[in-house]
């Protein structure tokens, strides 16, 4: 006999069917399959976790030669000489930070305005639909096309500006890649901050309106304070994108192994060094140095992503 109460509380154990009638056999088969099915579902999740962990472990193990050989010097030395096995990542660290931060500074005013426009002024309707589509399209243009466009259109413009300012007219460099990066990260910060802004409870806004506040005052005194941490998270996640962006930056940054002197000078980011030198890297340490940079990128972007998403999630659920 099957004890219904037991089945409901503990789940059914198909092995307990001992009586071998035809129906019971069928039932046992179904239940066995059910068991496999449910475990299989959980297994795929575990596989995903394993993939992620093994990505981290692989990066950590293969960058061991470099960590042993160079130690902490890797982070502050500026010598880059594959022949003598001297590798200092400081120029690339600075290059990555500089391009990403500059891109954030350039893109944030535009992204915030678009987010306020879409989240507050025109949440629905033709105008906002067109705008949303345009921003989505910006996100779907491949990075290599951005890079190509930057090389052909943006570089000459920057070169002209540099000539007027009397700096060396490279054309390519930190500023050029930052501008392209800024264009590329706008969609991410817009869509996230738009979501956050549209989550502001209407009652708060209505309260302010009923007290006679203008829209500007509502935005400045209600919406911005209420969404501050969410907007911060949106910017943070955009930064995560910018740090790891490779192709467009590789094509526009000028690939110089020196510390950039100003925003016009050419440089290199961690991602662009990997892209340029990985297939040419001969020698154990050289390859492992590049992988260590990959590890660094992985760890930083993962930390940024987890914290950013945690903040955003808190927003959307409350």
């Amino acid at each position: 006999m099957i004890n219904l109460n037991e089945v409901l509380t503990k789940g059914f154990d198909y092995k307990s069917i001992t009586h071998k009638s035809k129906e019971n056999k069928k039932l046992a088969n179904v239940l066995r399959f059910e068991n496999i099915f449910q475990k299989g579902l959980g297994l795929t999740g575990i596989i995903l976790i394993i993939i992620l962990l093994s990505i981290f472990i692989t990066l950590a193990i293969t960058s061991m030669p470099s960590i042993k050989h160079l130690g902490i010097k890797f982070l502050y030395s500026k010598e880059w000489n594959p022949v003598t096995d001297e590798f200092g990542a400081l120029p690339f660290l600075l290059g990555t930070l500089l391009t990403s931060l500059l891109a954030l500074i350039i893109s944030t005013p535009f992204a915030l305005s678009s987010a306020i426009f879409l989240g507050e002024y025109y949440p629905a309707g033709i105008v906002s639909n067109i705008l949303k589509n345009i921003i989505e399209l910006l996100a779907s243009i491949p990075s290599v096309v951005y890079g190509f466009w930057g090389m052909v259109v943006l570089v000459p413009i920057i070169r002209n500006i540099e000539l007027k300012l009397h700096v060396l007219p490279y054309g390519v460099g930190i500023l050029t890649s930052s501008i392209i990066l800024a264009i590329m990260i706008i969609p991410y910060s817009v869509s996230l901050s738009r979501q956050v802004i549209s989550m502001v409870p209407p009652s708060l806004k209505e309260g302010a309106y009923s007290l006679g506040a203008t829209r500007f005052e509502v935005i400045r005194k209600i919406i911005i304070p209420h969404t501050r941490s969410g907007l911060f998270a949106a910017v943070l996640l955009a930064l995560g994108r910018a740090l790891g962006e490779t192709m467009a930056v590789t094509m526009l940054i000028g690939n110089s192994h020196y510390i950039p002197k100003n925003i016009f000078s050419p440089g290199n980011t961690m991602a662009s060094v990997i892209a340029n030198e990985f297939t040419e890297a001969t020698g154990n340490v050289y390859l492992s140095v590049l992988i260590e940079m990959g590890l660094l990128l992985f760890v930083v972007t993962t930390l940024i992503n987890i914290s950013g998403r945690q903040i955003i999630k808190r927003y959307i659920f409350h």
Binding site: F33, E34, L131, F216, I219
Partner: protein, 281 residues
């Protein structure tokens, strides 16, 4: 008093004007890029462009057939790997949303989405290319498949969560086993979400270059063997854009135009799917 109110109104209007201006300005780059690509690309598009290999410098004409075939094969193989796996994980996350394990799986999906594509290139190089000893299209597909997972998982999870629990309960109450309920009722209802997520993820990885640099590597000839190096449109653009020759630039513009049109088409298909098959209750 009157003055104060007026100044507040002025400020309000000024702010709105500023917001509008910046919003319009942020759409300018897209229009410029599209304008440029269409202008430069359309002149190099003709029938020969689709059926020929790239020609050496100095010779007129030449096409992108190797890139077209390569992109199609690499993306196809990546989809075959990623779509079933991603859909099952999405199903798991929607069914066991209160599980402790599923919290970690969800976190992994978020982290996976944020990994720079170049890092995935390194990983697949270490996992596949190095042990097998040569670059191959298959390794490129695996890298792209990992990139495709997060959007597929998320879209599946979100769609399946929209299906009301009553439908599942009704099926279970009729004595239908759980797995049959999932396979015959829940999954078919959420098919639109899985499909649109898959197409969206295809459109995202079709333009990826960085993970292919050390995996599929590129190939100046037509190759259909997925165990050998293969070209793809983004790789082709990258290689020819960096050259100093006008002919090759032209080729790269044409390839960019084709790539963007492909991605645009996939996006439109996703939109139509979402609108037509939207789950409504």
């Amino acid at each position: 008093m009157d003055k104060l109110i007026r100044s507040r109104f002025y400020k309000d209007r000024l702010f709105k004007g500023g917001i509008m201006l910046f919003t319009v300005l942020s759409t300018v780059p897209l229009l410029l890029i599209l304008f440029y690509i269409v202008k430069q690309g359309i002149s190099s598009i003709n029938w020969d462009f689709f059926i020929n290999l790239p020609k050496p410098v100095g010779e007129k004409g030449g096409g992108i057939i190797n890139g077209l075939i390569g992109t199609s094969i690499i993306v196809l193989v990546a989809s075959v790997i990623a779509i079933p796996f991603g859909a099952v994980i999405g199903l798991y996350l929607s069914e066991y949303s209160r599980d402790k394990l599923s919290y970690w799986v969800g976190l992994c999906v978020d982290v996976l989405q944020g990994i720079p594509s170049i890092v995935l290139g390194i990983i697949i190089y270490l996992w596949v290319v190095k042990p097998t000893g040569h670059f191959s299209a298959l390794s490129g597909s695996i890298a792209l498949a990992i990139m495709m997972l997060p959007p597929i998982i998320k879209s599946t999870e979100e769609t399946l969560k929209l299906i009301p629990g009553t439908i599942k309960e009704a099926s279970l109450a009729l004595g239908v086993p759980y797995y049959k309920t999932i396979l015959r009722i829940i999954l078919p209802m959420g098919l639109s979400g899985i499909l649109s997520g898959s197409i969206l993820s295809i459109s995202r990885v079709a333009g990826e270059t960085a993970p292919l640099l050390f995996t599929a590597f590129g190939n100046p000839f037509i190759n259909t063997n997925i165990l050998k190096p293969m070209s793809s449109l983004p790789l082709l653009i990258f290689n020819y854009a960096g050259s100093a020759y006008e002919d090759w630039h032209k080729l790269a513009w044409g390839a960019s135009f084709v790539l963007i049109m492909m991605i645009l088409l996939l996006n439109i298909v996703t939109k139509i799917l979402e609108r037509k098959w939207k789950i409504q209750f």
